[in-house]
């Protein structure tokens, strides 16, 4: 029983690690440039502080998942890990929602503020960012599922507290 729980949490963490890693890498490697009316229009992830925050948050989550994966059988810190999981899940959801808000403006613009969409000029950048956002969304969902599973497993009287 305990082994099943360990296997499931390790699998979930591996999945989350893959998702956050791919989100970071895809966002960092996204850039495109276009020439519009003799003006060079280049789009990189550093142009927007939101995307910089996204990369930093996903990198932190990747590092955390990596460390916890290798933390296996020490049973003293597992309660701290449950609490840190909640904090990291919160970080992931906040970074993905902020990046989604800005990406939505980049795609559709905001007519009330006079902001034109930029996806028409730099389509490759937009596609890359979309891919990174999908990976980040998957990572946030996986971390939420991991948290729910940890809480459920801790609460069931059949399982001991230490996984």
């Amino acid at each position: 029983m305990v082994k099943t729980r360990r296997i499931i949490t390790t699998l979930l963490r591996l999945l989350a690690l893959g998702a956050t890693l791919s989100a970071t890498v895809v966002m960092v490697t996204s850039h495109d440039s276009a020439d519009v009316l003799n003006l060079k229009f280049s789009a990189k992830y550093t142009n927007s502080p939101t995307f910089k925050f996204y990369v930093i948050a996903e990198a932190i989550a990747t590092g955390y998942s990596l460390i916890v994966l290798f933390l296996s059988s020490k049973s003293l810190v597992w309660r701290l890990i449950v609490i840190l999981d909640v904090v990291i899940a919160m970080l992931l959801t906040s970074s993905i929602s902020a990046a989604l808000a800005i990406a939505q403006i980049g795609k559709k613009g905001n007519s009330h503020a006079g902001w034109l969409p930029i996806c028409g000029q730099v389509p490759k950048f937009c596609d890359h960012v979309t891919g990174a956002l999908i990976a980040g969304f998957v990572a946030a969902i996986v971390y939420l599922v991991l948290n729910l599973y940890s809480l459920h497993a801790v609460l069931s009287p059949l399982f001991p507290v230490k996984p």
Binding site: A43, I83, M90, L91, S94, S95, I96, S97, W115, L155
Partner: protein, 195 residues
């Protein structure tokens, strides 16, 4: 530990923790939840009523000026709509939890009380953090613009809108910190009661 009368509530299915610690912790928790409820409700209401109308003179035809009236409302931006919805839901959750803590000792939860509270607290922390961060970065965009994408800032023209939005954001971040503390306390309660 021998149960004392008055302050101990029976925990269905789990062990029991000391009574003095429970009443001190539970009153702290109720107080924190009330504060978080007030903060989320204030954030939602302030952003809901956030609106500013301004008339600009854009041209003069002969002697009559041509006016253009622009309105800044929170509905124009999906991030702010999500912010209002998230804070509204979180304030309802906090109110419900305060009611459960104060008046819910007679209801039979079938041993799931701490579990449901911990899980719901965690979900609402994620919700509020998503809403607050989306609105924060949207507000940063409105304040500074983005020269690379040729997006102008709007805070120099709609100052009151930006100020009120900033106030709502501060309230929401305070609520987020409080709700994170509450969630950690709930999880610690669950972990302790399962010893």
């Amino acid at each position: 530990m021998a149960p004392q009368s008055g302050t101990e509530k029976p925990m269905f299915g789990y062990g029991s923790i000391s009574c003095k610690a429970k009443s001190r912790w539970s009153w702290t928790l109720v107080g924190l939840r009330l504060l978080a409820f007030l903060a989320t409700a204030a954030a939602a209401v302030v952003m809901l009523l956030n609106k500013q109308t301004k008339t600009f003179v854009i041209a003069t035809v002969g002697t009559t000026p041509v006016n253009l009236t622009l309105t800044a409302k929170f509905q124009h931006t999906p991030a702010f709509v999500f912010f209002v919805v998230a804070n509204g839901l979180a304030s309802i959750h906090n109110l419900l939890m305060v009611m459960v803590d104060l008046f819910g000792s007679k209801v039979d939860y079938k041993g799931l009380r701490f579990a449901m509270i911990a899980i719901l607290d965690m979900l609402n922390v994620a919700l509020v953090s998503g809403g607050a961060n989306a609105a924060a970065f949207m507000a940063e965009l409105g304040k500074n613009g983005n020269s690379y994408a040729r997006w102008d800032k709007i805070c120099d023209r709609f100052g009151r809108f930006c100020d009120r939005g900033g106030g709502a954001l501060i309230a929401s971040f305070v609520a987020l910190a409080l709700m994170l503390i509450i969630s950690v306390i709930s999880i610690v309660k669950v972990l302790k009661s399962n010893k």
